[in-house]
Amino acid sequence: MIKEILNARRLLCPLPVIRTQDKVKLLAVGDQLEVVCTDPGVMQDIPAWCRINGHTILETRSDDGEYTIILQVGA
């Protein structure tokens, strides 16, 4: 299993979602991706995108203006 980090700081939605979508295409089922953003909108959008596309949110957290989402790639 691969664990990758995606820096999506300073990008406004939907760009963090697009970057996440593009990155996930390169990963395999079961891989994990940690997405680090500064747009609070990702806390709604990336989980919504994951629900639609069958990926699992493992963790979300926010700290000092940064929002981190860890997802696991689904089938």
């Binding site: 300073r10 939907p14 697009i18 979508q21 629900r51």
Partner: protein, 331 residues
């Protein structure tokens, strides 16, 4: 949403495609400014896909969209909105995507007469033809007023179960949404693109003028046009002043790209200088920014000037009065 549901109800597998041009207005853009806190900050395309239970593919077309905006064959609308060219471009991209991904035809939510530029009886065939989609393009909401398309002729969809909506009123769509069991829906189109906004368009024109008339832009340019007050005292530079804390936080992300200013003796907004400036320009910018802080009536405000390399220095300025900032400076 309604067009997709209409076709899905006939047993057709539908997936959504959403193009990001850089000019899209979404809840989060407003969220930068902390406006409409009571409203859900959602991406409508994702939300609609989830309501329908379909996949959504969001496609970054920022670079390709430049040629649509800069040189629209069919011209602009009331502002810098190239609606007809935009529609042709997006249907063309959708057709490419459909071909590459094994889909048979394209549907849109277009309605004849809904929009003054891009959704009129005479524009419908232009979009179909110039996008290259031709009769692969089905508009389920107004299909009964249009010639039969391939999916109808082939029997993939039943034309009798398609609709006959026309005109600007959204009442038929609201009724249809209720009949389909949708209690909530995305706001109707029109306010979804910054290019239809007079203030935003004026800032984009100003940006091009500052590039010696060259109609070009980078993503950061057009993002920054969405935030702050933009004041141009001279051709060679403008000052962008955050209007509230959310904008300030967003603009702080650009401190490695621009000279930043902020008052140190008083509470004041985060600000950026866009352009090549000398010491006198920075002094002018600082007097402008001081005007928008709590020290606006003070004899002196201390301003910190932060260079992109992180170095800082402090200068002392007397804030401009309201009358000292000419209206012509405001973009």
């Amino acid at each position: 949403m309604l067009a997709a549901k209409t076709v899905m109800d006939q047993g057709v597998h539908v997936e959504g495609i959403n193009f990001f041009t850089g000019f899209c207005v979404e809840g989060h853009t407003h969220a930068i400014r902390g406006q409409n806190k009571a409203k859900p900050k959602r991406n409508n395309a994702l939300w609609v896909a989830e309501q329908l239970g379909i996949k959504l593919h969001i496609v970054d077309v920022i670079e390709e969209y430049k040629k649509v905006l800069i040189n629209p064959k069919h011209g602009y609308g009331a502002h810098l909105n190239p609606c007809l060219d935009c529609k042709i471009f997006m249907v063309n991209k959708a057709k490419q995507w459909a071909t590459e991904n094994g889909f048979d035809f394209i549907i849109t939510g277009e309605v004849i007469g809904q929009r003054p530029m891009s959704q009129r009886k005479w524009t419908m065939p232009i979009i179909a033809e110039q996008s290259g989609a031709d009769d692969l393009l089905l508009r389920p909401l107004c299909a009964k007023y249009l010639p039969e398309t391939l999916p109808e002729r082939e029997g993939w969809v039943d034309r009798e179960k398609l609709h006959d909506i026309t005109g600007r009123s959204r009442k038929p769509q609201f009724a249809m949404a209720a009949a389909m069991g949708f209690e909530d829906f995305a706001q109707p189109a029109g306010g979804c693109c910054f290019l239809t906004d007079a203030s935003y368009s004026a800032k984009l024109v100003d940006l091009w003028k500052s590039h010696d008339g060259r109609k070009d832009y980078e993503l950061d340019d057009i993002m920054l046009l969405k935030v702050g007050r933009h004041i141009r005292p001279k051709q060679n530079f403008k000052v962008i002043i955050a209007r509230e804390e959310g904008e300030g936080r967003f603009m702080e992300g650009y401190k490695k790209d621009f000279i930043s200013l902020r008052a140190s003796s008083h509470t004041g907004p985060w600000s950026l200088i866009d352009g090549n400036v000398d010491a006198e320009d920075i002094y002018t910018a600082a007097r402008i920014v001081a005007r928008y802080g709590h020290g606006k009536d003070a004899e002196q405000v201390d301003m910190v000037i932060m260079q992109p390399d992180g170095s800082e220095r402090e200068i002392h300025v007397k804030p401009f009065t309201a009358d000292e900032i000419p209206q012509a400076w405001f973009i």
